[in-house]
C-alpha cells in the first residue's frame, strides 16, 4: 500500500540529506519526496510517499522520528487529505493535433502553458492517479519530456491526524 507521510523538520543545512540518507540506508522504498517551507519560519514540511506494509511504514516513521531535526511525523494516508502533484508534460504537437489535445486537457482542468512549432507543454495538478491518467491519454501524441514534482499533501480541516 502507498502511504503519504508528512514530516515536519527543522530547516537546517543537511536536513534533506539526513532524511533521504536514513531512508536509503535502511532499505526503505521511497516513491517521492517533496520539501518546502511551512507556515512557521525555520520549519519545513516534507511529504514522503512510500510503498510498504504497515510494519515497514511504522518502522520508517519511527526511524525518521529518531532524527533530532525531525519535529513531527504523521501518516496522512488514513485520514481525509488533500494530495497534489504538479506535472509538466511536453508533447509533440502540430497545428492539426492542437485542438484535439486541447480537448483532452480541458476535462482534467490542466492548462497549456507553452506552444511551439512542433510541441506543446501542459501543466496539470492533482492526485498522482489523475496525473497518470492524463499522461496515458497524451502518450499517443508522442511525449518528449515529463517533469513531476512528487506529491505534497495536507490533512483536511477538522480532522486530527494520527501522530506517531
Amino acid at each position: 500500500m502507498r502511504h503519504t507521510l508528512s514530516v515536519i523538520v527543522n530547516d537546517t543545512p543537511g536536513v534533506l540529506a539526513r532524511v533521504a540518507g536514513l531512508i536509503s540506508r535502511r532499505g526503505f522504498n521511497i516513491d517521492s519526496l517533496t520539501v518546502g517551507p511551512s507556515e512557521e519560519p525555520g520549519v519545513s514540511r516534507m511529504t514522503i510517499t512510500t510503498i510498504g506494509d504497515e510494519a515497514t511504514v511504522e518502522q520508517v516513521m519511527k526511524q525518521l522520528h529518531k532524527l533530532i531535526d525531525v519535529i513531527k511525523v504523521q501518516d496522512l494516508s488514513e485520514d481525509p487529505m488533500v494530495e497534489r502533484e504538479l506535472i509538466l508534460i511536453k508533447i509533440a504537437a502540430n497545428p492539426a493535433s492542437r485542438s484535439e489535445i486541447n480537448g483532452i486537457v480541458e476535462p482534467f482542468r490542466a492548462t497549456i502553458v507553452d506552444v511551439g512549432r512542433s510541441s506543446m507543454m501542459i501543466q496539470a495538478t492533482g492526485s498522482r492517479e489523475k496525473n497518470d491518467a492524463i499522461i496515458e491519454l497524451l502518450r499517443p501524441y508522442g511525449i518528449k519530456e515529463i517533469a513531476r514534482t512528487g506529491v505534497t499533501a495536507l490533512v483536511r480541516a477538522q480532522v486530527a491526524a494520527r501522530v506517531k
Binding site: N10, G14, G21, R25, Q59, K66, L67, I68, D69, V70
Partner: protein
C-alpha cells in the same frame, strides 16, 4: 540512561556580564561547565586553536597514538562510568580515523561526544588540505551531528551535544568546529537549560501497558527475562535484581548485558545467542512469555528469526521506540527507560507461578554447563581465563578485543556487577579492548582493569603500549595467543571445509614487544607459568603484558550456526 548532563556552575567566568572569548576558549570553558575532566585525543592543524586553549586549562588530556584508540578509550571511559566520554581529533585523517569507534559507539549505544576540527568555512567544499566531509560521513553513525557555523553558537551546541549523547538511548554525537569559527571572537553565553524541539525521549512507561504485562506474568507458566545493555545504561541493575527475586522469573542475558544480573544467582540462566549457554538458548526457545528489556533482538541472539522463541508472547521494554517491533512482532510494547519500567512493574508486585519451569532450567544448566578439561601442561584458553577469574576474585573490570577470547571471557569470567564488562558487541571491533581498558582505568583509577585480548586483535592497536607506558596506566593486558584469527578459523573449520584461508596470523613475542615500550612483559607457556604470571602481573603496580601461549586448536562452543534456530545449537566440544 536516565541522567541528563546538567551544566554545572563550576567555572569562575561570571555569568552576569558576558565575556569575550575565542571559539576555542568557548569549547574549553563549555567542557568545564559540562563537567568534562578527561579528554582523549590527538592534535592536528585544524584543531590547533582548541588544543591551544586546552593548554593549562586543567582538563586532563590523554594523548593516544592513534585517533581510533582515543575514541575507544572514550568509549571505555563512558562504559565504566555511565558518563559521556569525550574525544578530540583534527580534520580530515584525524576525523576519519575515528570512524570505526564512532560506529562502535553507535552500535553499542555508548554516550560519546566527538569534537573534530574542520578547515575554515571559506575552504569547506574546496577539497582543501586535510578536508573531509565529516558531517556527511558520520550522519549514518551518530545519534546526531553538528557543524558549528558561528562562534557564539559553541556553548549552546556543546550543551546540546552532551544532552543528546547522554539521554534517551545514549549514543555518539559529533561536533565539527571549523578553524575560523574556533579562532573567531564572541560573547560567551552558556545556556541555563537545554531544550531541543523534536527531541523528547519517552522515559516513563504507560501504566496501562505495565498492568497488562503484570497480568501476562500472572498467567505465564514459562516466563523468561531477556536483558541487555539497556539495563546497564539505565542503571537498572538493582531494579532487575528485585524484579527477578520478587517475580521468580529467570534471567538470561545478552553479551552486552553481562553483569547486570549476578551470574552466581540461581535464577540466572546464562548468556543467550550464538555462543550462549545451552540452558539460555533452550529457555528462550521454550518460554511462553518473553520479557525483553533493554535489548534489540540482534541476529546474534535470535538466530533464524522464524525459529526465534516461537511459543512466547513478547514484552519489549526499550527507550527507543524504533527498536520495538523492528525485528520481531511484540504483543506488549513499552516505550520507557528500563529502570522506570521495572520500577513500575515492581509496584504491581507480579509473581509468576513457574516452579516447574525453574526446575526445567536448572536441569538444562546441569545437563550442559559451560566447562572444559585442562589436561597436561599445555594451556587451554578457557583454563587461563578461569584462572584469571579466580585470582582476581571476579572483581576486575574486564575489557576484551573481539574473537574467540572474547567469547571465552564472556563464558569463564564471572560478572556479578554492572559496568565490569566492556566489550564491542554490535560492531565486533578488533582493536577495541586495549584502548577501552585505558579509558576504563582512567575513569576508575582505584580498580583493577584487565584487557583480555587475542594475539591478532592486540596487534590492531598495539601502539597504545606507549600511551600506558608513558603515563604508567596500570592496565593488565592478558593475551590469549593461539597464533590464529581464532574465530575466523573456527568458521572456516565448520562452514568452509577447513580451508584455512589467511587465518593463520603470525605474532611477535609480545613480552619482548612490551619490554621495548618499557612495559613489563611476561610469557607463560604452561599451567605453572600461567598461574605465576597472573600473580606477578597483579602484584606489579604498573602496566603489564602477559603472553599466554595456548593450544591452537580449541574452539568456542556451544554455537548456534548462522541461519539456524537457537534450539539447533551445537553442544559438542566441551564434554569430551
Amino acid at each position: 540512561m536516565s541522567q541528563a548532563i546538567k551544566p554545572a556552575p563550576t567555572s569562575n567566568a561570571p555569568q552576569a556580564k558576558p565575556v569575550q572569548m575565542t571559539g576555542a576558549e568557548m569549547v574549553v570553558e563549555s567542557l568545564k561547565r559540562l563537567g568534562v575532566a578527561t579528554i582523549f585525543g590527538y592534535p592536528g592543524g585544524a584543531i590547533l586553536p582548541i588544543y591551544d586553549a586546552l593548554y593549562e586549562s586543567g582538563i586532563e588530556h590523554i594523548l593516544t597514538r592513534h585517533e581510533q584508540a582515543a575514541i575507544h578509550a572514550a568509549e571505555g571511559f563512558a562504559r565504566a562510568t555511565g558518563k559521556v566520554g569525550t574525544v578530540m581529533a583534527t580534520s580530515g585523517p584525524g576525523a576519519t580515523n575515528l570512524i570505526t569507534g564512532i560506529t562502535d559507539a553507535y552500535m553499542d549505544s555508548t554516550p560519546v561526544v566527538i569534537i573534530t576540527g574542520q578547515v575554515a568555512t571559506s575552504l569547506i567544499g574546496s577539497d582543501a588540505f586535510q578536508e573531509a566531509d565529516v558531517m556527511g560521513i558520520t550522519m549514518p553513525i551518530t545519534k546526531h551531528n553538528f557543524q558549528v557555523r558561528k562562534t557564539e553558537d559553541i556553548p549552546r551546541i556543546l550543551a546540546e551535544a552532551y544532552h543528546i549523547a547522554g539521554t534517551g538511548r545514549p549514543g555518539p554525537v559529533l561536533v565539527d568546529v571549523p578553524k575560523d569559527v574556533a579562532n573567531g571572537k564572541a560573547n560567551f553565553v552558556f545556556p541555563e537549560t537545554v531544550n531541543i524541539r523534536g527531541y523528547n525521549p519517552t522515559t516513563m512507561p504507560s501504566m496501562l501497558q505495565i498492568e497488562r504485562v503484570a497480568e501476562a506474568i500472572a498467567e505465564a507458566e514459562r516466563p523468561l527475562m531477556y536483558i541487555g545493555g539497556g539495563i546497564i545504561s539505565s542503571e537498572a541493575s538493582e531494579e532487575l535484581r528485585r524484579f527477578a527475586r520478587e517475580s521468580g522469573i529467570p534471567v538470561a542475558s545478552t553479551l552486552m548485558g553481562l553483569g547486570a544480573y549476578p551470574q552466581n544467582d540461581p535464577l540466572y540462566v546464562g548468556m543467550l545467542g550464538m555462543h550462549g549457554t545451552y540452558a539460555a538458548n533452550m529457555a528462550i526457545f521454550h518460554c511462553d512469555l518473553l520479557i525483553a528489556c533493554g535489548v534489540r533482538f540482534d541476529d546474534r541472539v535470535t538466530g533464524k528469526l522464524e525459529r526465534f522463541s516461537p511459543n512466547s508472547k513478547k514484552v519489549h521494554i526499550d527507550v527507543d521506540p524504533a527498536e520495538i517491533g523492528k525485528n520481531v512482532a511484540i504483543e506488549y510494547p513499552i516505550v520507557a527507560d528500563a529502570k522506570n519500567a521495572l520500577k513500575a512493574l515492581l509496584e504491581k508486585a507480579p509473581r509468576a507461578n513457574c516452579a516447574d519451569w525453574q526446575r526445567q532450567i536448572a536441569a538444562w544448566k546441569a545437563e550442559y554447563p559451560l566447562s572444559f578439561k585442562q589436561q597436561g601442561e599445555s594451556l587451554k584458553p578457557q583454563y587461563v581465563i578461569d584462572l584469571i577469574n579466580k585470582l582476581t576474585d571476579s572483581r576486575a573490570i574486564v575489557t576484551t578485543e573481539v574473537g574467540q577470547h572474547q567469547m571465552w571471557a564472556a563464558h569463564f569470567y564471572q560478572f556479578n556487577e554492572p559496568r565490569k564488562w566492556i566489550t564491542s558487541g554490535g560492531l565486533g571491533t578488533m582493536g577495541y579492548g586495549f584502548p577501552a581498558a585505558i579509558g576504563a582505568q582512567l575513569a576508575k583509577p582505584d580498580e583493577l582493569v584487565i584487557c583480555i585480548a587475542g594475539d591478532a586483535s592486540i596487534q590492531m592497536n598495539i601502539q597504545e603500549l606507549q600511551t600506558i607506558a608513558e603515563r604508567n596506566i596500570p592496565v593488565k593486558v592478558f593475551i590469549i595467543n593461539n597464533g590464529f584469527l581464532g574465530m575466523v578459523r573456527q568458521w572456516q573449520e565448520l562452514f568452509h571445509e577447513n580451508r584455512l584461508s589467511e587465518s593463520k596470523i603470525g605474532a611477535p613475542d609480545f613480552a619482548r614487544v612490551a619490554e621495548a615500550f618499557n612495559v613489563k612483559g611476561i610469557r607463560a607457556e604452561n599451567t605453572a607459568q600461567a598461574e605465576q604470571a597472573i600473580k606477578d602481573a597483579l602484584a606489579h603496580p604498573g602496566p603489564v603484558v602477559v603472553d599466554f601461549i595456548v593450544e591452537e586448536a580449541e574452539n568456542v562452543f556451544p554455537m548456534v550456526p548462522p541461519g539456524k534456530g537457537t534450539d539447533e545449537l551445537i553442544v559438542k566440544g566441551w564434554e569430551e
